[in-house]
């Protein structure tokens, strides 16, 4: 699963910074039909977790009400340099992960 994580290049210690993630996933609702008239089974990313140097800072339970190729933006407080690591799982059990480095100055 292609995913892109964005954090600012560098942040001052104690500052609040923006974390953004965009994951390529159809977030199939289960309400659509294919060209043969067969229902396409529901398959959405149902759980998304963000950890900052191993500590959970954000968790989301998502549903079919979230648009395809889910985009989530939230905030974190800069503590130590390290990594923001995302992991997620969809209804079919497919797991994905992506990370971005955070450089904390001061």
């Amino acid at each position: 699963m292609v995913a892109r994580v964005h954090v600012p290049a560098s942040v001052k210690r104690g500052a609040v910074f923006e974390v953004r993630i965009n994951i390529q996933h159809p977030m199939e609702t289960g309400f659509r039909y294919d060209n043969s008239g067969r229902p396409i089974p529901k398959n959405v990313i149902n759980s998304l977790v963000a950890r900052y140097n191993g500590v959970e800072i954000f968790r989301a339970e998502l549903g079919s009400g979230i648009a395809a190729n889910p985009y989530v933006q939230f905030y974190a407080i800069a503590e130590a340099s390290g990594e923001i690591e995302f992991s997620w799982v969809d209804d079919a059990g497919q797991r994905g992960s992506e990370r971005a480095s955070v450089a904390v100055a001061g």
């Binding site: 009400g65 979230i66 648009a67 933006q73 974190a76």
Partner: protein, 153 residues
């Protein structure tokens, strides 16, 4: 001295009538607020106060498949006073609970942005649960129109 039989009979009858009317009263209130049952599900019956929560959406959505939505809560976000979770509810989608975001004191700011699917013009409600156990809500109305041309590709 026990009340006369007549008086006891009337008071029991009144109580029974009042008890029977309760579901109708609750149902009537629910009909006037489409979110009532959902909110009950989310908060487990705890009272929800309108305020402190802002839901930012375009007034007119380009397309119901993807609508930018920002929810923010007025909260200091300290170790003692922070937002535990934010739940997004749809007034019209087949699955009305769109998402639940779990924050915490390390979140820095009680603000989450995402893109949602909206199944037609509707009201969207966000319920925030604070660390002190209180619930606050905010909402927004979004107009969603159909595309001008049918796309069968």
């Amino acid at each position: 001295m026990k009340a006369p039989l007549r008086r006891r009979f009337i008071s029991v009858l009144a109580a029974m009538t009042a008890m029977a009317a309760l579901p109708w009263v609750r149902a009537a209130r629910a009909q006037s607020d489409p979110f009532a049952a959902l909110v009950l599900q989310v908060t487990g019956g705890a009272p929800v106060r309108a305020g402190r929560v802002t839901v930012d959406t375009p007034r007119l959505a380009d397309n119901g498949h993807s609508v930018l939505l920002k929810v923010s809560v007025e909260c200091a976000m300290t170790a003692a006073d922070y937002v535990r979770s934010i739940t997004l509810l749809s007034g019209r989608n087949p699955r009305p609970i769109m998402a639940t975001f779990h924050l915490g004191p390390k979140a820095g700011r009680a603000e989450v942005t995402t893109r949602v699917r909206l199944n037609g013009t509707q009201r969207v409600l966000a319920i925030a649960r604070l660390a002190d156990g209180t619930y606050w809500s905010g909402d927004a109305e979004v107009e969603v129109t159909e595309s001008a041309c049918l796309d069968a590709t």
